[in-house]
């Protein structure tokens, strides 16, 4: 699409040798599985829950074939815990869930934040709170993904709106998790998780795959598992390797030993937050369409971004100056990007399927928050182009 400029799509290397590309027609959930395997997934623990179950089902079939581990645990809590254990043993590890299952995983997500354990958590969102709408779409977990576990911390949350993007953003999720030793949450939704669409599977080498950074400290020399390098990264050592160290959910020193010393506590919390927040610009992934002269900018993410794009293409064909920014990184929220990209917009419409969780962030980010409008739907039905169109017409003063 010539009108589209893509900001920081998962790093594509120069074209590899041209052969027949592998084309599949798959669900978003299966694209996530394929992306995870492409990224080197070696361990999956999960518990069935709609609408994410297909991820577990496909991995139950595919992981053993690749020599990896699949385990169905007794609940979502145990799944997330098992992921932490496996990651410390050196495996790229993932779990997948939805709705109430995501609530249950929060405890161990906090542990992974604190102990800096790389892992990927997929949340295919459904309607909530509580059991909510198990088979229907929603995007109500944006704030939970950021703040679901207790205490100050930072976390990376990515999303996608197509089967192809799910594949690529999953690879990217693993890259970020491994590079910065952090949990990464892939916040998809029922519509993109379940719909089937074309997937062109990239060749090995076509997408960048980041592996864990390991320490070069020799046996017998003190290894400081929690002393970051100057660039903020922590070189690892696997359980079972030569360095035996302590991992804890307590505040800890550079050895991983518990500490309550205010200096060390403060140092650690700043490190945990800064390693992500200071890289917000590097972690931002987005797509933009027709922003240059757009009077009205729609901001969206996940499946509603598809409706927004539908509407934008329609109105552009009629000459309306409408543009779209589709976020793929939700946390750390790319506030500066949003401010810059919408600087000249008269109105900003945030299309999302919740009561305005990202709208609030956009209002905080932009110069004129009074011109930010929520376009939402929270009835389990996918937000459609007409829904967005109606709100825009009203704000533009052209009737409902």
């Amino acid at each position: 699409m010539s009108a589209a400029t893509t900001g920081k799509t998962p790093g594509k290397k120069a074209a590899v040798q041209a052969a027949e590309p592998e084309i599949r027609f798959v669900q978003g959930n299966e694209a996530c599985v394929r992306g995870a395997l492409y990224a080197g997934l070696k361990f999956f623990a999960g518990y069935p829950i709609t609408p994410s179950t297909e991820i577990a089902e496909h991995l139950a079939e595919l992981l053993p074939r690749k020599g990896g581990v699949f385990i169905q645990m007794e609940d979502e809590i145990a799944s997330m815990c098992a992921v932490c254990g496996a990651s410390l043993a050196g495996s790229k590890a993932m779990t997948a869930t939805s709705g109430p299952g995501f609530s249950l995983k929060q405890e161990a997500i906090g542990y992974a934040c604190m102990a800096e354990i790389p892992c990927v958590i997929v949340n295919v969102q459904r309607g909530g709170p509580s059991t909510g709408l198990p088979t229907k779409v929603a995007q109500g977990d944006v704030m939970q993904a950021r703040w679901g576990t207790h205490g100050d911390h930072s976390i990376v949350v990515l999303t996608a709106s197509s089967v192809q993007d799910i594949f690529e953003i999953t690879v990217e999720g693993f890259n970020i998790a491994e590079t910065y030793r952090t949990p990464v949450i892939l916040l998809f939704d029922e519509v993109v998780g379940h719909m089937r669409e074309k997937l062109v599977v990239p060749k090995q080498g076509e997408l960048h795959v980041a592996d864990r950074l390991y320490t070069e400290v020799k046996p017998g020399v003190n290894y400081h598992p929690y002393l970051p390098r100057e660039d903020g990264r922590l070189p690892s050592s696997d359980f079972g390797g030569v360095h035996r160290y302590n991992v804890t959910g307590l505040f800890h020193d550079i050895f991983g030993f518990p500490t309550e010393h205010p200096d060390q506590v403060s140092k650690l919390i700043y490190h945990l937050v800064d390693k992500i927040e200071n890289r917000a610009h590097l972690l931002a992934r987005w797509k933009e369409y027709y922003l240059e002269d757009a009077e009205h900018v729609i901001l969206s993410y996940g499946s509603p971004a598809r409706s927004a794009r539908h509407l934008v293409e329609n109105r552009r064909s009629k000459g309306d100056r409408v543009g779209l920014i589709e976020l793929q990184t939700i946390w750390p929220f790319p506030a500066q990007l949003v401010r810059e990209k919408t600087a000249h917009a008269k109105n900003i419409f945030v299309a999302e399927m919740n009561m305005g969780q990202v709208t609030t962030l956009v209002k905080q980010a932009v110069v004129n928050p009074n011109r930010v409008f929520l376009v939402n739907r929270v009835d389990g039905v996918m937000l459609n182009p007409q829904d967005i169109g109606r709100v825009m017409r009203t704000i533009e003063g052209r009737g409902f």
């Binding site: 699409m1 084309i23 027609f25 709609t50 609408p51 198990p134 088979t135 029922e190 519509v191 379940h194 719909m195 089937r196 669409e197 074309k198 499946s303 598809r306 409706s307 794009r309 539908h310 293409e313 996918m382 459609n384 182009p385 007409q386």
Partner: protein, 182 residues
Amino acid sequence: MERYRFLMSGSGGQGVITMAIILAEAAVIYEGRTAIQSQSYGPEARGGATRSDVIVADGPIFFPKVLHPNCLVALTSEASNKYLHLIRPGGLFLYDSDLVQFDVRVDMRRKGLPMHRAVMETLGKPQTFNICVLGALAVLTEAVTLESLEKVLMTRFAEVHHKNNRTALQLGADMAAALVEN
């Protein structure tokens, strides 16, 4: 090619969703087109009313759901009663003429075929009913060709089913062709 918005409906166990996936996959993999398939989830997927949406186009598809189909497929009366009012003016309505009764009068191209009966008479089992419907769709629309559908059937099903699938596909195609000629 025009943009096809299929709404396929029936009851659980009729293979409506499989039918939708095969149609969309044929269009994407063997026709080089764009297609999106989605379906309603929940208890209805295990009996009761089933619905699956397929959009087939030459260009990109953004909104993945079908609000107003220009091609409605109904395999039960319940399904036709539920969705017939959504059909676009002049849209194609393919239904099983034995299983579906309706008295809605809207602007549409009605194509009723006794597909279920034909499958039972020829193959003795209802399992390939949905494949027969696909055969009819391939003739009645330009969304996919019979050849592409057959290729998907060959890859998706074990070899023991190939013969019956081919027969059912052709059965649907022949019935639809006869209808078009009349």
